[in-house]
Symmetry: C2
Subunit: 201 residues, 2 copies
């Protein structure tokens, strides 16, 4: 059975999976799922993903896997995109949990509320709080990237893919990257990796 | 060098690490870090944990690792608390990312705002929204636990430890577990595991 991605063109979480699949040159099919009309989520994802969110990947054996960063881990096993070594693998997870706790809920949510929500532009107070949280996350990345080219092991891994997805559209969340020059250099480094695919490819 | 945990007695995220360390019967030292006064976080955690949060574990080689679920993964490598097999390990991460995205930010934050924040009890509207999110997470767990004894592989793993930490104090978040009988049975199953340690042990 071929890989099947429950996907949306503007979702950064789904883009992470598309970006790694492009690097791995793996073929897959796509089903587009709305990120604004969520009325069919239970029907669509019951038994497939407990959180009822995209992305979901149907695997070769017909089972389904949810959570973007768990999907990255699954696909990267045995490839150069996962770190080797016990500490390096834990470090990779550290950055990926940071992404899902401190980064995505701020930057992705501000971006969604400003551009993609059905009532976009009507959440000034929430957006401001999320932008503030997003800037804290970017400052943490900047501190690390001042001294490192990538997040783990000085090479391009799924930690970079996870953090690239929403960082490279931070401007859509109303967050300029001028104060984070090392983050800007890292974004260009990731985009220059052979096999890179753009969000709207 | 001995393991050193930057810890707080009431933090569920820190408790996850203490619970696994108890199961593994590993000795460690503790430094208590305030969860209400965060003014010294930059000073305390710069270069140790990008998110400036507890728990942080100083490892045998003197380096530091942050993010509760990354620490669980590190400690569980090579033990029965981590799943074997590529899909099972990814499934374990799926539930751990679910915990940090859909579960902890709702249940832990409602609990904190009701009981531990400096201005506890003054956030009725935010608490109500977080309780609603917490109930959605518990409903997802209930759907899974109706058909399974544990989250992955039908045995006790770090996915159970990650989800146990805040689920077992959901009442402190103002969320009763009456509607989630399978979750209640699973909580009792986890607490009956040989080597279990209570939150306030």
């Amino acid at each position: 059975m071929s890989l099947l991605l429950y996907d949306n063109p503007v979702s950064g979480n789904a883009y992470k999976v598309r970006l790694l699949l492009a690097h791995l040159q793996l073929p897959y099919e796509r089903v587009e799922v709305s990120v604004t009309d969520r009325t069919n989520r239970q029907e669509l994802f019951a038994g497939k993903n407990p959180s009822l969110r995209i992305p979901v990947l149907r695997l070769e054996d017909g089972t389904h896997l949810g959570e973007s960063n768990a999907i990255l881990w699954y696909l990267a096993e045995g490839t150069r995109f996962l770190a080797e070594g016990r500490l390096e693998r834990a470090r990779l997870l550290q950055w990926m949990f940071f992404e899902q706790y401190d980064h995505e809920p701020n930057i992705a949510v501000a971006r969604y509320l400003l551009h993609y929500a059905p009532d976009a532009g009507q959440h000034a107070e929430i957006v401001a709080a999320r932008q503030q949280g997003g800037r804290r996350a970017l400052a943490a990345m900047e501190r690390h990237l001042k001294q490192h080219c990538y997040f783990v092991d000085e090479r391009f891994t799924i930690a970079d893919i996870a953090l690239y997805a929403y960082t490279h559209v931070a401007d859509e969340a109303g967050i300029g990257l001028g104060d984070y020059p090392s983050v800007g250099n890292w974004l260009r480094r990731v985009a220059a990796e052979p096999g890179h695919a753009a969000l709207l490819g």
